[in-house]
């Protein structure tokens, strides 16, 4: 008999109580119900335990993974901006904020339009920039590449690609790379090359002139020899 039931009989009927035969079936049914209740509760508690463990484990794995992802996105050389299909900023890295000098509260509001206006001011060709952005939002599957020239003379490469989960496009990822130095170095090289080319032209020109002069000198020398010989004829014997 279930302990609780035994105790109840003892408490209410005394130690030596004999259950009458006609009640035995009912008592057995009650006993079964008590036992089953314990089993049910045991199963429930076990399920709760195991589920909790599973969830804890899954959570901590997920947290670890998220940390890793965040660290990755912060370690890239590029500024990264992720926007969903509704135009809301989903995520970004510190470099992105630094590039555009975007104040904390605009980024936190996660409003792409607001961030966009803040950024347009800094560009030499804001209309071109805006058109490109609008064009790409209308074409979620398109990729893009272009260069942005800032008013402060910085130059950036801008890539974008659709962001996919499975087959579905869920947003767009923009990446920005500072190529100001590279552009400057390119310009510098171009200048140097021009200079060298000019100098070369000039040097070649001079060479030719020198040759010309030399030839003229030779001619003159010949003439001088001729004259000298002529002069010898007229000297007194």
């Amino acid at each position: 008999m279930h302990n609780l039931l035994k105790r109840q009989f003892k408490k209410y009927f005394g130690e030596s109580y004999q259950i009458p035969t006609e009640w035995q079936e009912l008592v057995n049914a009650v006993n079964d119900a008590y036992t089953q209740s314990d089993i049910d509760r045991g199963l429930m508690e076990r399920s709760l335990d195991i589920s909790s463990q599973e969830l804890l484990h899954a959570n901590s794995e997920m947290r670890g993974f998220i940390s890793l992802l965040n660290a990755t996105i912060e370690s890239t050389a590029d500024g990264i901006l992720v926007v969903n299909r509704q135009g809301k900023i989903v995520s970004f890295n510190q470099k992105f904020m630094k590039i555009w000098h975007i104040p904390q509260q605009i980024v936190e509001s996660r409003d792409d339009e607001q961030a966009l206006s803040f950024v347009l001011d800094q560009l030499k060709n804001p209309d071109g920039f805006l058109n490109k952005v609008r064009e790409l939002y209308a074409n979620p599957e398109a990729e893009s590449y272009d260069e942005l020239i800032f008013k402060d003379e910085r130059v950036f490469e801008r890539y974008s690609q659709p962001q996919r989960i499975g087959q579905a496009v869920v947003g767009r990822v923009w990446s920005f790379r500072d190529i100001t130095e590279r552009k400057r170095a390119e310009e510098e090289i171009k200048k140097r090359v021009k200079e060298l080319e000019d100098f070369y032209d000039m040097a070649v020109g001079r060479e030719l002139r020198m040759k010309e002069l030399k030839e003229q000198m030779e001619e003159m020398k010949e003439e001088m020899e001729k004259l000298k010989k002529e002069l010898e004829k007229y000297k007194k014997p």
């Binding site: 049914a29 079964d32 119900a33 089953q36 049910d40 045991g42 199963l43 429930m44 076990r46 399920s47 195991i50 589920s51 599973e54 969830l55 899954a58």
Partner: protein, 379 residues
């Protein structure tokens, strides 16, 4: 319709008495009973003598329902004399669960289509893929014909189930009863009352209705972990944790129950498909939600039939519910009685699976762990 019910138990024999009855007006006798009793053909012989013109349609069970009483190791007959409705039977034998789709097709094709209103299907409960069977039936019956039914049971043994229609009760058998006539009104409802809990698990390895792995790990091991000491009672104890299969967006989720376990292959066989790439969650039962599920199923069936008080209600409820509710199981049948009213005759059994449309007018599906009610009335 005129309906009468009789039950055979070991203590009382037939009650009301069967001997002496000869009723030629009865066209259909529904017979549900324990596997062992159905194997003894003397009972069936006696029933046939009492109702010589009737089709005998039924199966083995995990419990018989007669009015609001549930019994085990008994036989319950529900003898029906229809006023207008015609009935026809068909039966097919299968070799393995792979035949289930084709079996559904063959059965559907064997029924005449003119004036066909509703089909009741009773299937072997262990060797059939219930979802394939449903698909086979759905694809080959005309629009507007509803299908309900269930998988036969075998107590909590899960060893062999018997099904019959005018034949010797046999295993690996699927039978259908076609109901014909415009006067027949049919309603149905199916609800569970089980709640998913815990994490979603991806089905990473399965084949049809056999599940091998969830999230790359053994599904059998997962069940054993949750069951603890009850693991030794698999597959029966597996009913304590049915699986909720997440369907595609916008579709209803499905519940799947374990029918058998294979230790060597480390697999679990379910009553219906458990496709790879789909997310599953374990489910648990709550007494009150189970009872409410039965009550709501009755309400659903009541609504779909219009506002008549139905004459006959066939209740097919899952053995998993009986295992949880135990002594309180009758509460769910009483709940159905409260909704349908005193005049409705309640018949049915505890099954290894239920077949019913999700909602009015949709195709039928295999369900598990539900109370599925089919109500019939002649106008």
């Amino acid at each position: 319709m005129k309906i009468e019910q009789k039950r055979w138990t070991e203590e009382k024999g037939w009650f009301p008495e069967l001997k002496g009855t000869v009723d030629e007006a009865v066209q259909l006798v529904l017979l549900f009973g324990a596997t062992q009793l159905l194997k003894d053909l003397t009972y069936i012989h006696d029933i046939k003598s009492a109702y010589p013109k009737a089709h005998l349609f039924g199966c083995s069970t995990a419990g018989e329902i007669c009015s609001t009483q549930i019994t085990d190791n008994s036989l319950v007959i529900t003898a029906v004399s229809f006023e207008y409705t015609q009935i026809k039977c068909a039966q097919v034998k299968i070799r393995s669960s792979l035949d289930s789709l084709q079996a559904g097709e063959i059965l559907a094709r064997s029924l005449e289509k003119d004036d066909l209103v509703h089909v009741i299907v009773l299937s072997d409960g262990i060797n059939v893929n219930g979802s394939d069977l449903s698909e086979g039936l759905n694809n080959n019956l005309p629009e507007g014909v509803s299908i309900t039914g269930g998988l036969a049971g075998d107590g909590e043994r899960f060893q062999e189930t018997l099904v019959f229609c005018d034949d010797i009760p046999a295993r690996d058998t699927i039978s259908v009863l076609g109901l014909y006539g415009k006067s027949l009104k049919v309603g149905y409802g199916s609800l569970g009352g089980w709640d998913p809990f815990g994490p979603e698990r991806l089905i990473t390895r399965s084949k049809g209705n056999i599940l091998y792995e969830l999230d790359g790990k053994s599904a059998l091991e997962l069940y054993k972990r949750y069951l603890g000491e009850h693991a030794k009672n698999l597959p029966a104890s597996g009913l304590l944790f049915p699986l909720s299969i997440r369907a595609k967006e916008g579709e209803n989720g499905l519940v799947r129950t374990i029918l058998s376990v294979n230790e060597e292959e480390q697999s679990l066989t379910f009553a219906g498909d458990v496709p790879e790439g789909v997310y599953a969650r374990l489910m648990k039962a709550n007494f009150d939600r189970l009872i409410d599920g039965a009550i709501d199923a009755a309400k659903k069936s009541y609504l779909t039939i219009g506002s008549f008080s139905p004459e006959l209600a066939i209740l097919i409820s899952c053995v998993g519910r009986k295992m949880i509710l135990k002594q309180r199981t009758e509460e769910e049948v009483e709940g159905v009685r409260d909704i349908l009213g005193d005049k409705t005759v309640l018949a049915g059994f505890y099954s290894y699976g239920e077949i019913c449309p999700f909602t009015l007018g949709t195709k039928c599906d295999l369900h598990n762990q539900t109370m599925t009610i089919t109500v019939l009335s002649e106008k």
